[in-house]
Amino acid sequence: MSDVAGRDPAAVDLAGRCAIVTGGSGGIGLGIAAALDRRGARVVIAARGADAVARAATTLAHGAGFPDCDVRDPARVEALFDFAEERFGPVDIAVACAGVRRAAAGGRLVPPPVSGLGDADWDEEIETALRGVFHLARAAARRMTARGGGQIVNISSARGGLRGEPYGAAYCAAKMAARALFHSLAAETAASGVRAFSILPDAVATPLIAGTGLGRTGTLTPDQLGNVVADLLAMPLDAVIEDVRVSLREGRPAVQRMAARSGGPA
């Protein structure tokens, strides 16, 4: 039952918790880092580059930055955990949010079909969005199961984490595979009190989707999503919500879309 203020006493207090967010220097990652920071968590922002990480870290009240963190390098991911532990104590929360920002041509991104997908593009997407997630999940699972507690979050996507979409083969393949990885991980670590789950947001207004045409009908903000993630992490630890789909309920309504289409129901 709730306490006097209506809070569930079993809720997780995020204050003072040590959290790692990869891809944390911008977009969704920064939104999550900021939301956790507002609740008093000690957040380590990890991302590629040094300037962006330093800039992002200065926006935190309690956190720190870990620069040049390419999640494709398992040694760098281990170093990230060592750094976080040294600064703020054992890692309670690890959020995998690193993604690939593809180069746009002429201000507009034209993602290739499978027939035109280059080896390098495929590799970069899979190495970052799948192998990178694996590196983070493995490091977190090793340390957290040893301690008997912690939370591991995979930022997936409602546009690609649920089924393949045209012109997004590499992205969708990585996102669906990472979600499956988390199903396995969650089942394995639950007995040790470690909760692992994926979040599948609809389009979020970030540099990642700039120029893709996604989000024309409206987008979530990184702040909105960050708060949702923080709320989920604060949920009592005896339960887990699998594959949380977060969608936008504004913008161009489905009814209009249906009316605009000829023909009857599918």
């Binding site: 039952m1 569930d8 609740r39 394995e188 005896d238 977060v246 309920r249 489905a254």
Partner: protein
Amino acid sequence: MNRRPDTVSRLEALRVIVTGAASGIGAATAAALAARGAQVLAVDRSAETMPWMAGGFLGRVVPCTADVTSAVDCDRMVRRAETELGGLDALVHSAGVLRPPGGRPRPLADLEDAEYDAVVGTNLRGTFLANRAALHLMLKQRAGQIVNLASTSGVRGRPLDALYSASKAGVVALSESVAEEVRPFGVRVQVVLPDAVDTPLWKQNGALGGAPAGALPPQRVADVILFCLALPPGVACDNLVLMPLQSRARRAAARGAAETKRREP
């Protein structure tokens, strides 16, 4: 402190109908809402006192006797929210049954027509009637939200629970449809799918006994429902599947053991 100012302020202003409020998830949700300062119309078909109301929420909770299988009752329930709470911001539709009184787990081939009507009539038709009654008001006021309660049985049917599973699958699909329909009118519809929860629903299994080990406390589902209600406008969580962490661990362990056994020569 784990302050959530936005969440709290969004909940304390709410005027909410909670159906199935006499026990289980409905009772836990009504109590949690009242504890956060929401005004609650606590609906159940039995006129029995709701035991949880001894918790001192009487000022913020109005009991209401209504049967969700009756369209007249559902309309009346919404009118009572208007008159007694001064309006309606949200409906939490938790009323549901596992099987009719005196029923027991049986294969589909042995089920009576009346059992279909009792289970599908309460769970699915009840959801339709309660949602429709609330939407008549919410669409007019261009604001409101609904959280329906389904079940993981609605995603994957369980043996000996065909009617319950089918009705909950219906609740999921109904919720998805109506969510898209009413979205342009500022009304948010979400659906929560809990796995096993420790509620009196299991008593409907008769001698077969209560909730399975590791079932979630109903308060946990209430937490998730409040999370849904407190989401900022324009954001929704679709089809939230809520699992006990530990039952999952046991299942994984069982699978692991079976796998090991299978691999042994």
